[in-house]
C-alpha cells in the first residue's frame, strides 16, 4: 500500500512537467502577442518601440525553450511572474482568491456526498416505491437543470421572497448555502443515479444470495457487503465530479458575487493576462491530481483486487 502511494506521488512530478509544458506552449500559440497584451493592460499604446522594450523586459525576445526554462525555474519556486493587469505577483493574487473557490468546491462535494449516497441507497432498497419514484424524479430534474438558472431560482425564493438568505457576497455561514446547493445540484443528481444503479446491481449478486441463504441477516448483508461493493463506482465518479465542481465554481462565483478565483481568472482570460492564466492552470491541475490521488487510494483500500493485482 505504501509502495503504491509513493509510486503515485512520484508520478505526479512527470505529469506536472508535462502539463506545464502543454500549458505554456498552448498559450504561446494563441493569436495575441503577450507584449501587446501587457501594454494594453498597462494603458500604453502598443507602438513598435514600446513593444520592443516590453519584449526585452519580459524576456519575450529569447528563444521559446529558454523562455519556458526560465518560467519553469520560477514556477517550481512558486514564482509565476507578475500579472499584466494588477502588476502584482500572480501566484500571490491567486492565493488570495483560491481559498474561497476551494471552500465552495469542497462544501459542494460534501453536499453531493451526503445527498446522493443516502438517496441512491434508499432508492435501491425501496425500489419502485413512492420514495424511489421521487428520487428518480429529483435526479432527472437535477441533471437537466442548468446550475445558473437553479441559482436564480434559489435567489428569487430565499432572498427575494422569503428574505432568509443573503443573495450575494460572503457574510457568515448562511451566505454559503445557496452557492453550494447550486453547485452541487447536478453532481448530486448524477451520483444519486450511479449509487442507486450500483447498489441494485449488487443486491442481486450471487455472493449476496449465498450469505442470505446461509442465514446472514438482511441488514448485515445490505449494510456491509452490498454497501462496500456498490461504493466502488461511486467513489470513482466522485473523483470525476470534483473536476466538474471546481469548473462549475466559476459560474457560481459570478452568480453569487463570491470573491473566488473564478471571476479573477475570467477577467484574466479576456485581458490575456498570461502569467495569471498559466499559474491558474497549474494550480488547478495540482488540486485535481491530488484529489484524484486521494480517491484512488481510497479505491485501492476498498478494492483488494487492485491491491493484490488480480
Amino acid at each position: 500500500m505504501i509502495k503504491y502511494i509513493v509510486k503515485r506521488l512520484l508520478l505526479i512530478i512527470p505529469v506536472m512537467f508535462a502539463v506545464s509544458f502543454i500549458v505554456f506552449t498552448v498559450l504561446r500559440l494563441g493569436p495575441v502577442d503577450p507584449a501587446q497584451a501587457y501594454l494594453l493592460n498597462s494603458r500604453i499604446p502598443p507602438t513598435e518601440e514600446a513593444l520592443a522594450v516590453t519584449r526585452a523586459e519580459l524576456g519575450l525576445d529569447k528563444p521559446f525553450f529558454t523562455q519556458y526554462a526560465l518560467w519553469l525555474k520560477g514556477a517550481v519556486q512558486l514564482d509565476f511572474g507578475m500579472s499584466y493587469m494588477t502588476k502584482r505577483d500572480a501566484f500571490g493574487d491567486l492565493m488570495y482568491y483560491f481559498p474561497t473557490t476551494l471552500k465552495v468546491t469542497f462544501l459542494a462535494m460534501i453536499v453531493v456526498i451526503i445527498v446522493s449516497i443516502p438517496l441512491g441507497i434508499l432508492g435501491a432498497v425501496k425500489k419502485d416505491s413512492l420514495a424511489d419514484k421521487l428520487i428518480k424524479f429529483f435526479s432527472f430534474i437535477g441533471v437537466s437543470t442548468p446550475s445558473f438558472w437553479f441559482g436564480f431560482l434559489l435567489i428569487y425564493l430565499f432572498a427575494l421572497k422569503l428574505n432568509i438568505l443573503p443573495p450575494f457576497g460572503l457574510e457568515g455561514i448562511s451566505s454559503w448555502i445557496m452557492p453550494i446547493l447550486t453547485l452541487g445540484l447536478m453532481s448530486s443528481a448524477i451520483n444519486t443515479r450511479i449509487t442507486r444503479t450500483s447498489f441494485l446491481e449488487h443486491i442481486n449478486n450471487r455472493s449476496v444470495w449465498y450469505l442470505k441463504v446461509n442465514g446472514v441477516h438482511k441488514n448485515t448483508v445490505m449494510g456491509k457487503y452490498v454497501l462496500k461493493n456498490s461504493m466502488l463506482p461511486v467513489i470513482t465518479s466522485l473523483g470525476m465530479h470534483f473536476g466538474e465542481l471546481i469548473g462549475g465554481a466559476v459560474v457560481v462565483e459570478v452568480l453569487f458575487a463570491l470573491p473566488g478565483v473564478g471571476r479573477y481568472v475570467v477577467s484574466s482570460i479576456t485581458n490575456h493576462d498570461y502569467p495569471v492564466i498559466q499559474c491558474f492552470m497549474i494550480l488547478m491541475t495540482g488540486v485535481f491530481i491530488i484529489v484524484n490521488l486521494i480517491i484512488d487510494i481510497i479505491y485501492v483500500y476498498l478494492n483488494p483486487k487492485i491491491k493484490y493485482g488480480a
Binding site: S207, W209, L211, K212, V213, N214, G215, K228, Y308
Partner: protein, 263 residues
C-alpha cells in the same frame, strides 16, 4: 425408521403466465443423500429455492406444503437448519471481503462461535493446507476447488441438519469432482441429509441414496440407487441412462464412482 427432515407434499409453483413446478412430492430423511437429477430448465433449482423459501419475486408457490422437521418454514431455519453449497463458488464469495470475514459473518449470524483455531482445524479436515492463509485471502486468490471446500466447511461448521448442494461439481475437473463427492459422502457419515442437484447421472449415481428425476417441472421418477437399472423405470430415466452411456462409456471410459463404467 429415519426421521423425515423435509417433507414436500404436492408442491406447485409458477409465474402468473405459466407453471414451473407441477405437484412435486418427496421426502428427505436424516442421513440420506437425495439427488435431484434432470436437464437444465427441468425445475431442479426451483424446487431447491422453494425449500429455501427464496423463490424469485415473480414466481409464486401455488399449491402444496413443505414441512421442515414437521414444522412450517421460518426465516431462522436458513443457516441453522438448512444450509447451502452452490456452484461456481468463485462468484458466491464476495470479492471485497476476505474468506475469513465471510465465514465469520455466516457463523455469527447463526449464533455459532467463531474461533480461528476451530475453523482452521475444520479446514484441515477437508484437506486444505495453510488454513490461516486461506482465511486471510480473497476469493479471487483461491481456486474453484479450494473455494468449494471452504463452502463445504462452512456448511459443516453451521452444523445444519440438511445441506442443499446445487451442482457443486459442475465447474470442476474430474479429479476435483471426485474429491468433492467424497466430501459430500463424508457429510452423510455425520448424519446430515443432503439434497444434491445435478444434471450428471454419474455424479448422482456415485453419491446418492435416492435419485429423483425431474423433467419439465414434474418429478417423473424416484427410486433408490440400486434400482437404477430396474425394469419399471420411467421412460425418461431410461433415455437418460442410454444417453449417458453413449456419451461417456464408449469414448473415454472414465471411472467416477463405483460401477460407473458398466452402467
Amino acid at each position: 425408521m429415519c426421521k423425515k427432515l423435509i417433507s414436500i407434499n404436492d408442491l406447485s409453483a409458477g409465474t402468473n403466465k405459466y407453471q414451473i413446478l407441477h405437484n412435486i412430492s418427496f421426502d428427505i430423511n436424516e442421513g440420506e443423500i437425495v439427488c435431484l437429477l434432470g436437464q437444465s430448465g427441468s425445475g431442479k433449482t426451483m424446487t431447491a429455492l422453494s425449500i429455501l423459501n427464496m423463490l424469485p419475486l415473480n414466481v409464486m408457490q401455488t399449491s402444496g406444503t413443505i414441512l421442515y422437521d414437521d414444522k412450517p418454514f421460518d426465516e431462522n431455519m436458513r443457516g441453522s437448519f438448512i444450509s447451502m453449497i452452490m456452484q461456481s463458488p468463485a462468484s458466491c464469495f464476495d470479492s471485497v471481503f476476505t474468506i475469513g470475514a465471510q465465514f465469520k459473518d455466516i457463523l455469527l449470524s447463526n449464533n455459532k462461535e467463531y474461533s480461528i483455531d476451530k475453523v482452521c482445524a475444520e479446514l484441515e479436515k477437508v484437506e486444505l493446507k495453510n488454513p490461516h492463509d486461506i482465511l486471510n485471502s480473497y476469493p479471487f486468490q483461491l481456486s474453484g476447488g479450494m473455494l468449494q471446500r471452504v463452502m463445504i466447511t462452512i456448511a459443516l461448521s453451521l452444523d445444519s441438519k440438511i445441506i442443499i448442494a446445487d451442482e457443486p461439481t459442475s465447474d470442476l475437473d474430474i479429479t476435483g469432482q471426485k474429491e468433492i463427492i467424497d466430501l459430500i459422502l463424508k457429510l452423510k457419515q455425520e448424519n446430515k441429509a443432503v439434497l444434491m442437484i445435478t444434471h450428471n447421472l454419474a455424479v448422482a449415481k456415485s453419491c446418492a441414496d435416492k435419485i429423483a428425476v425431474m423433467d419439465k417441472g414434474r418429478l417423473v421418477d424416484i427410486f433408490n440407487k440400486n434400482e437404477l437399472l430396474a425394469e419399471n423405470r420411467h421412460k425418461y430415466t431410461k433415455e437418460l441412462i442410454a444417453a449417458n452411456n453413449r456419451l461417456y462409456t464408449n469414448k473415454w471410459n472414465i471411472d467416477l464412482g463405483e460401477n460407473y463404467a458398466e452402467m
